[in-house]
């Protein structure tokens, strides 16, 4: 699978219901020195203590942080969208936040992250849709594929909430349908 090696620069991940556990499984599988950037939208509640970020940092070789407005996207860093803000990727490979109204009832919106990432990174982006009980992300994943990026979807049978991966398969189609643990290993080899 060497052909994958230089192809991808960023991984965008969208996850909803059951996201905490799913992210833990995946992020903990990334090897030491992993040098892609990972940008994550998880539908989650406000977390005044940064518990989520602190916890994930203990589980992975990535440096996990909350995404900040106007910051540059760096390799080896995992950015998590803050609750109540949309997260967008700019053409100059920086991040923007916004308080636009929720999209498909979601803020942050997976579609918004994926669509802007597709335009900014074209074939250099891998989009990952995980467990969730809605259809956010499928439109964005479709756009990622349209611009030559890769779509990885959690096998709905293994998902805590199968609807989001099912919808993504139906609307965007997948390049790979894998279990959580295998998604982690697969992404680990993109570096």
């Amino acid at each position: 699978m060497n052909f994958l090696k230089t192809d991808h620069e960023i991984i965008v991940i969208g996850v909803s219901t059951g996201g905490f556990k799913a992210l833990e499984v995946i992020l903990s599988k990334l090897p030491e020195g992993f040098n892609l950037s990972v940008i994550i939208v998880q539908h989650r509640k406000k977390d005044p203590d940064d518990f989520f970020i602190d916890y994930m940092n203990k589980k992975t070789s990535l440096h996990i942080k909350e995404a900040e407005d106007k910051e540059s996207i760096k390799p080896g860093v995992g950015y998590i969208a803050p609750p109540e803000y949309h997260l967008l990727v700019e053409m100059d490979h920086t991040l923007s936040l916004s308080v636009d109204p929720p999209l498909k009832y979601a803020r942050p919106s997976i579609d918004m992250l994926f669509e802007t990432a597709a335009e900014a990174y074209e074939s250099k982006v891998a989009g990952v849709i995980l467990t969730g009980a809605n259809d956010d992300g499928s439109k964005g994943l479709k756009k990622i594929r349209k611009y030559g990026g890769m779509a990885i979807i959690q096998d709905p049978v293994t998902a805590e909430a199968p609807m989001m991966p099912k919808n993504a398969i139906k609307i965007a189609g997948a390049d790979h349908i894998l279990s959580l643990a295998n998604i982690g290993k697969f992404l680990g080899r993109l570096s």
């Binding site: 900040e68 407005d69 106007k70 910051e71 803050p82 803000y85 967008l88 990727v89 700019e90 053409m91 923007s96 936040l97 916004s98 308080v99 636009d100 109204p101 918004m112 669509e115 802007t116 335009e119 900014a120 074209e122 611009y147």
Partner: protein, 279 residues
């Protein structure tokens, strides 16, 4: 040139046309967000390309007004981020309450919910009568709504929760009258508020301010435009002068980082550094 590059060029030209023809400058707004709105409008018009839409923009004033509204995101609420209001009560009010007169500039006030929230707070702190609130936005529609102070009652439950969490000292129901599915803010809150049209990209300072509140506005600007706005705020602030940003906005990435001292980092409350005192 690829597909995406061509479209970005069309967007550059569209924004250029908007500026040259109508004087509204969105060239330094965060591009990803502006682009989404242009593309959304393109879909609604049924036109084929952004260039075709640019022709419409140049030749049709009504269409310009529609685009202007597209570009102004007005999402807001009463006591948004309650902990911020609590910090204002605890950390700013004590520092300004003995002033003879207090000037507050609320920039990018949208439909006014935040302005009335501050008015309530000032009243409870006993300093409303000597305060003048300048509430500005570049969108005349939202200013009109802000002036009226009429809001849908369906959000009241959330607002009352926010009010309490923000350290409200009375009952929020004292500040409005309910009519059918609407509430009308009390006129005693309105008397010292001046709503007016002001564009942060091109308009100037209009008075010396003790507090500037500008939340969730510069998040839509690129660094260059953020710098422009910080300079404007620096010029407008007296000494002491306080600047309050939204919870995901900061001066720390700007050229003016040394001109502001954080007095509450989490709530993004800054004090202007008095350069005279340093010298």
């Amino acid at each position: 040139m690829g597909d995406i590059a061509n479209r970005n060029l069309e967007i550059d030209l569209f924004l250029e046309a908007m500026y040259k023809k109508y004087g509204y400058d969105f060239r330094n707004y965060s591009r990803a967000s502006i682009k989404r709105r242009i593309e959304h409008r393109l879909k609604l018009t049924g036109l084929k390309t952004i260039s075709a839409m640019q022709h419409e923009l140049i030749n049709n004033w009504n269409f310009f007004e529609i685009v202007l509204r597209d570009f102004s995101i007005n999402v807001t609420e009463m006591f948004r981020d309650p902990s911020f209001y609590k910090a204002i009560r605890e950390e700013i009010i004590p520092k300004i309450k003995d002033f003879q007169q207090i000037n507050i500039w609320h920039a990018g006030c949208a439909t006014g919910e935040e302005v009335y929230s501050i008015a309530v707070l000032l009243k409870e702190e006993g300093i409303y009568d000597k305060t003048r609130i300048y509430a500005t936005d570049f969108n005349k529609d939202v200013l009109e709504k802000a002036k009226q102070g009429v809001y849908p009652a369906k959000f009241l439950k959330q607002y009352i929760l926010n009010y309490r969490e923000a350290g409200g000292m009375g009952s929020f129901t004292d500040y409005y009258t309910a009519k059918y599915e609407f509430v009308l803010m009390d006129s005693s809150l309105k008397k010292n508020i001046l709503f007016s049209d002001h564009n942060l990209t091109c308009d100037t300072v209009f008075g010396e301010m003790d507090v500037i509140i500008c939340r969730n506005v510069i998040i839509y600007f690129n660094i260059e435009l953020q710098n422009h706005v910080f300079k404007l705020f620096l010029d407008a602030l007296g000494n002491p002068g306080f600047l309050c940003l939204g919870s995901k906005e900061t001066v720390s990435i700007s050229d003016y980082v040394d001109n502001f001292e954080a007095i509450n980092r989490k709530e993004k409350i800054y004090k202007k550094v008095d350069k005279r005192a340093v010298l």
